[in-house]
Every structure is written in C-alpha cells, then in structure tokens.
C-alpha cells in the first residue's frame, strides 16, 4: 500500500468528488437541476460530470423546481437514484409540495414497496454577501417533515462522506450544504476518501469540560473559534457537530451534555421554531438532573434574512456565543 500525501481540498471539490464516485460506482445515479450540466452548477459542484458521464446522466433541466423534484420522484420509481440540485435555499420552496406530499411519504404510503432514493442537495445559509433569497437557513422546514433524512457537513471529509451516504441511502435525504464553507479547505485525501459513515452520527469536534456547544454546518467553525477564545475566560468548551439533524444522535449529544452540565445550541437559523428549540427540549428531557442551567440558544434573529451590509449583525458570532456561555449560571453550580 502506497502512502498518499494529504492534499488540501475545498468542500466544493469533495462534493464534486462524491458525485463523481457515486456516478462511477452506480449507473443508476443521475444528477439533475438548473445549470448543473454545461456550466457545472453556479457553485461548480457538478463541474465536469456532464462531460464525463454525458448529458443524460447530468442534466440541465428547465427552470422549475417542482418539476425537477417531481420528475426525480418518477425516475426513482423506475429504479434510478436521482441527485437533485436546488440552486439556492429559497429556490427549493416551489418544490415543497412534491417534497412534503410525495418524497417524504411514498415509502410509507406504499407500505415499503416504493422507496424513493432521492438525494436533494440544497446550498444553504448566509455569510456570503448574497442578496435576498440566497441566504436562508431552511432546515426547520425539512426537520418538521417525517420521512426525510437531513444531513449537513461542516468539514471537507464529511461533505464527501455524507453525500455518498445520502446517495446510497434507500430513503430521501436532504443534504444541506453550507454555502460559506464551499471554499473552506482541509487536508483530505481524495485518493482515499473516508469510509462512508452511516447517517445519524454526531461527532465531538473538540472535547471540553465546562460546557457543550451543540451545533452543525456553517456554525461549527464559529463554535470552534469561540471555544478557543473561551480559554482566555477560563472556560473549556466542548463542541459537538451534529452532522445529521434527522435522525438525531441523542446518545452522543446527551452524553456530552451530561459530562459538562451546561449547553448552548448554536445555529444561523432563526431561533423561534428553529432547530434549537427541538435540540434544547430533547437535551433537557434527557439530561434534566445533570443541568446546572437551562440549555440556551444562540441563533440568527427571527427576521427575514437581512441584506449583506447587515448580515454580520444577524449571524451568531464568537461574541454572541460567549455572551450566552457567560449566562450559564456559573455562580449557582461550579
């Protein structure tokens, strides 16, 4: 076995590689969406696929998201494994009826006879200076829809692993790709990509003893940064990267919170009705007697995503996270 040097790669490149490997491994895998063919997608994630596998495997569709997802349903019914790209978070909304009323329910409706192995890639979240409709955190909608799996990578290796796992899943999986991490780099060996983890496992990105930050996707690097900054204040913060929102890894999360006794959920999405409420509630249900303080939430505000010139005030940053950590009632317990 030859040792291959780890090379830096971006998350976008890892996603491209995952699509390519999946298409090479299984002729049933088809990519479709707006501009995914000739152009290689507006984020270039499908770059080269039409050339390598032909336009019938990587297809520029007409501009109609319900049509894209609806035809993908039909393709999956016939045994294909479509991978659909929604160009931006807010442009997935026209496909919500197909998603909620069919994609999420077809297996259940047919008593397991007609599973739908459809992967839905959604570039999501802000921090890229995008104009309105290009920065939504729409994960709450997907989480509230039983029948879907929902995953979101925070590292280059996970981007590869989760997308491969999504395509291999016999169930529909929504892959939320943090736009602002597309160009984040990591040393990752594309010649020996990670084995595909099963969907549904969180990971402790940083061990710590004072309090646990529970987060995912675009907020993972922010939390790691906050954890570094917290050392100056004498806090040793743990950071859990959920990776999968559905199914939820209660085991890993609860174990982490039980260890530290304090927790803050961090995400870009708005707070009210967002993922943090679910996460805080389930952590509290499981760890009530271990908690020194209520599980707090650090999130975007409950407002339509703001214009680029103001987005830094909206997005949870290191300061907002540490302010929340400071409110974890340190006097009372420790």
């Amino acid at each position: 076995m030859t040792t291959v040097a780890l090379k830096p790669a971006t998350m976008a490149q890892a996603l491209t590689r995952a699509l390519r490997d999946a298409m090479a491994a299984d002729p049933a895998v088809h990519v479709l969406g707006e501009d995914v063919g000739t152009l290689g997608g507006v984020f270039r994630v499908t770059d080269g696929l039409a050339k390598e596998f032909g336009e019938d495997r990587c297809t520029d569709t007409p501009l109609a998201e319900a049509g894209i997802l609806g035809t993908a349903v039909g393709m999956a019914m016939y045994g294909l494994r479509p991978v659909v790209e929604m160009q931006f978070d807010a442009f997935a909304y026209p496909a919500f009826e197909q998603l909620i009323s069919h994609v999420a329910r077809m297996r259940n409706r047919t008593r397991g006879r007609m599973p739908l192995p459809v992967t839905i890639r959604v570039p999501y979240g802000g921090g890229i200076g995008g104009v309105e409709h290009h920065s939504d955190s729409s994960e709450a909608y997907y989480m509230a829809t039983p029948g879907l799996h929902v995953v979101t990578p925070a590292t280059v290796a996970d981007a590869y692993g989760l997308l491969r796992a999504a395509i291999e899943s016999d169930d529909p999986v929504v892959v939320l790709e943090p736009k602002r991490l597309y160009w984040s780099k990591d040393t990752w060996n594309p010649e020996d990509p990670q084995p595909v983890d099963p969907i549904g496992r969180a990971v402790v990105r940083r061990a710590g003893s004072s309090a646990t930050l529970i987060t995912y996707g675009p907020s993972v690097p922010v939390c790691l940064e906050a954890a570094e900054a917290a050392r100056a204040e004498g806090w040793d913060l743990e950071v859990v990267d959920l990776r999968s929102l559905v199914p939820f890894d209660d085991e890993t999360v609860a174990a982490a919170v039980r260890r530290t006794g304090r927790a803050v959920v961090v995400h870009e999405s708005g707070s009210f009705g967002g993922p943090g409420g679910e996460i805080a509630a389930r952590v509290t249900e499981r760890c009530f007697h271990h908690l020194e303080a209520p599980v707090l939430r650090v999130a975007g505000f409950d407002i339509p995503y703001p214009p680029p010139m103001l987005e830094r005030h909206h997005l949870p940053g290191v300061d907002r996270i540490l302010d929340a950590v400071a409110r974890l009632q340190w006097e009372a317990g420790n």
Partner: protein, 378 residues
C-alpha cells in the same frame, strides 16, 4: 447521442434570421371533439374491441354504483364516482401495454381496476385503510394521487427514466380539468416536451372541479389548446365515445412508444354524480344540465352502435351484466369484512430502518396498547 442532441440543438438567432422552431399547425387540436360512434368512422372500428369496451363499460358502471352504495353503508369513507366517465377510465387502461405505467388521480380507481388491480386493493385508501393497497410494481400502476396534478411530473420522470434505460415503456397520466390550473401541470408538460418523454397526458374535462365550472377554470378555446405552448400535439376527443377515446389514446401511446414524444389529450365528458358522496351538487348545477349528459351516456352510445350493427346479442349483454354482478357481489362481500390493521405498522415504513426516535415512539405506543389490552389504561 443524448436526448437533447436527438432533438437538435437550438442556437439563438437574431430575428432577421428567425426560423420557427416547430411548426405549430399540426400541434393544434381540431375545432370539434373527435368522435367515432355514430359516424362513418365506426365502420372501421374492430368489432372485437368494441365488444370488449362494452363489457368493460358495463363493468365500470356497476363498479361505480357498488362503490357508491358502499359509502352509504359506511364501508367506504368517501368515493369519487366516475359514473358517466367510464369511457375515459376504461380506455385509459386498455390503451396501455402490460409493461406500460398508469398514473391515476384520486378519482381514477376505475382505471386502476380496469388495469387489473383487485377492486378491494384499489379502494383501501377510500375505505380509510392504508393508502396504497396494491403493489405499484405488480400492475405498473402508481399510487392514486390526491394532491392534484402532482402525479404528472412523476409520470414524466418515470417515462424519461425508462427511455434512458432503453426500455420500451410508455406512461399515461390522468388529471382533471381543475388540475390543469396547477403549476405542476405546466411543469410536467414542459419537461415532457423538452425531454421528448414517452408520456401521454389524459385530461378528463368533466365540466367541474368540485363546484367550480370550467369557465372559472380557464378561458382557453379548449384545454387541448395548451399543448402547442409546450410543443406537443393536443387532441380533443368526445370523452363519452369509448371508441374515440380508445383510438386517440392508442395513437398517442404508439406515438410516444415510437419516440415521437408526448401528447396532451382532452376528453370532454361529464361527472354525472356529485363530486363525492359527501358533496351536494344541487348547490351549483341544475338537473337539466345533468339530463342532457345522460342522453349522451357512454354505455348507451356504444350499445346503440353495437346494436345497430348487429354486434351485440342478448347473450353478450347478459354475460357483461353477469361479470359485473359477480364483481359487485365479491366487492360487497369482501368490503364488508373489517380489515385488521396493526397500529405497530404506523412505524414500519417511514424509513427503511427506524430512527432511534421512532423506536422510542414505537415503545410508547406498545405500552399504550398493552395498557389498553390489560384494561389498565386510565
């Protein structure tokens, strides 16, 4: 060669060099609905086919009346009847080969049955049992689609997939006049035409979407006129003329099979019964209108033709009736049995594998069931 290349790539050309990309003339429907019965064309129709259609219409009508009766006995929660529309339902099923796929709307259980699905299995949704009682792959019938027009892109995707795989499969998708107003109708027809997918769209224009008449649904000359806007042929047919519907659909299926792409067929028919048993049609239409259409009953039209041409004797008539009664008696008997549903199945097929969350919820339900069993429930 990709599908796109086959169709010839379009490059934008400035108006001085403008070339219409497709000739619209052959895509436009005739001014009048196509008819066979009672016209000279009937002479060319295959007598065997006409007799078969007749038996199926009699069967279909009986199925409709029996299912409606079952609602009155509380054995069906709801039934959207196709009385008066049997010609469309039956022809849709008969126009397809075994390997083809049918995509029914919520109203089209008769088409599903005509395609070979056991009537009891076709009706599970409507009796309050699990949604799809049949295996979609056994008879190649998609689940009944309740959200209107959403099944149309599915049909396009399936047909496209089959074509990409090199399989000789056509999909026929059914939708109502009301359903044509939905965005999914538009997107499906457009995808079908761009991909030249082997799919046939059958719009049953039965005059109403629940209470809303066609004039409030569209201002178009006909629904078939929508076809040209997608670059596919639109055909207008008398939906109560079983021979005509069968011929038009068979042509469209053949065309799709041969690589000619999709067709939009509008069948003009009428919903004789109320929207469902729960609806009160007198609130929005008069008896006189219904009577006009009863005159134009699909069974009567076909029977007149067959009788005039001496193709239907009392024996055949009786055989058709007997077959229908046998089905009805069997349906009654089996629908009178209460299906045994297991509440634990609520979790069985949400995912291929239960999530940890669903395992917890299943345990909760099991505890509740045990308490109920033991009478220890509060």
């Amino acid at each position: 060669m990709t599908v796109m290349e086959q169709r010839g790539a379009y490059r934008p050309t400035p108006p001085p060099a403008w070339q219409p990309r497709t000739d619209p003339a052959p895509l436009l429907p005739d001014a009048e609905p196509y008819r066979v019965l009672g016209t000279e064309r009937a002479a060319k129709a295959d007598p065997e086919l006409l007799r078969r259609l007749y038996a199926q219409l009699v069967f279909g009508r009986r199925y409709n009346t029996q299912a409606t009766a079952l609602t009155k006995q509380g054995r069906l929660a709801v039934y959207p009847s196709t009385t008066g529309q049997e010609a469309c339902e039956v022809a849709a099923a008969l126009a397809l080969a075994d390997r083809d796929w049918l995509f029914p709307s919520y109203r089209d259980t008769l088409a599903v049955v005509a395609r070979g699905v056991d009537p009891v299995e076709a009706l599970t949704l409507l009796r309050g049992d699990w949604h799809t009682g049949y295996d979609p792959y056994e008879h190649r019938v998609a689940p009944l689609s309740t959200p209107l027009a959403t099944q149309l892109p599915h049909a396009v995707g399936l047909a496209h997939a089959a074509r990409l795989k090199g399989d000789d499969v056509v999909a026929l998708a059914m939708v109502g006049d009301g359903g044509t107003s939905e965005g999914d109708f538009h997107e499906a027809l457009n995808f079908a035409a761009v991909w030249q997918a082997p799919v046939v769209f059958l719009v049953q224009n039965n005059g109403f979407a629940i209470s809303v008449p066609l004039a409030k649904q569209t201002a178009a000359p006909s629904l078939a006129h929508k076809a040209v806007g997608y670059g596919m042929p639109g055909r207008l047919v008398d939906g109560n003329d079983a021979a005509a519907v069968h011929e038009v659909l068979t042509d469209a299926v053949r065309r799709a099979r041969e690589g000619g792409g999709p067709t939009l067929v509008e069948a003009v028919t009428y919903r004789i019964d109320a929207h469902t048993n729960a609806d009160d049609a007198t609130r929005y239409r008069g008896d006189a209108e219904v009577e006009t259409w009863r005159e134009h009953d699909p069974i009567r039209l076909l029977e007149q033709e067959l009788t005039a041409r001496g193709l239907l004797d009392d024996d055949a008539r009786q055989r058709a009736r007997d077959a229908a009664e046998t089905m009805a008696a069997d349906l009654r008997a089996r629908m009178n049995q209460d299906p045994a549903l297991d509440p634990r199945d609520l979790f069985a097929h949400v995912y291929a594998e239960d999530t940890p969350q669903l395992r917890e919820q299943r345990a909760l339900l099991e505890a509740e069931l045990a308490a109920e069993q033991e009478g220890t429930h509060r």
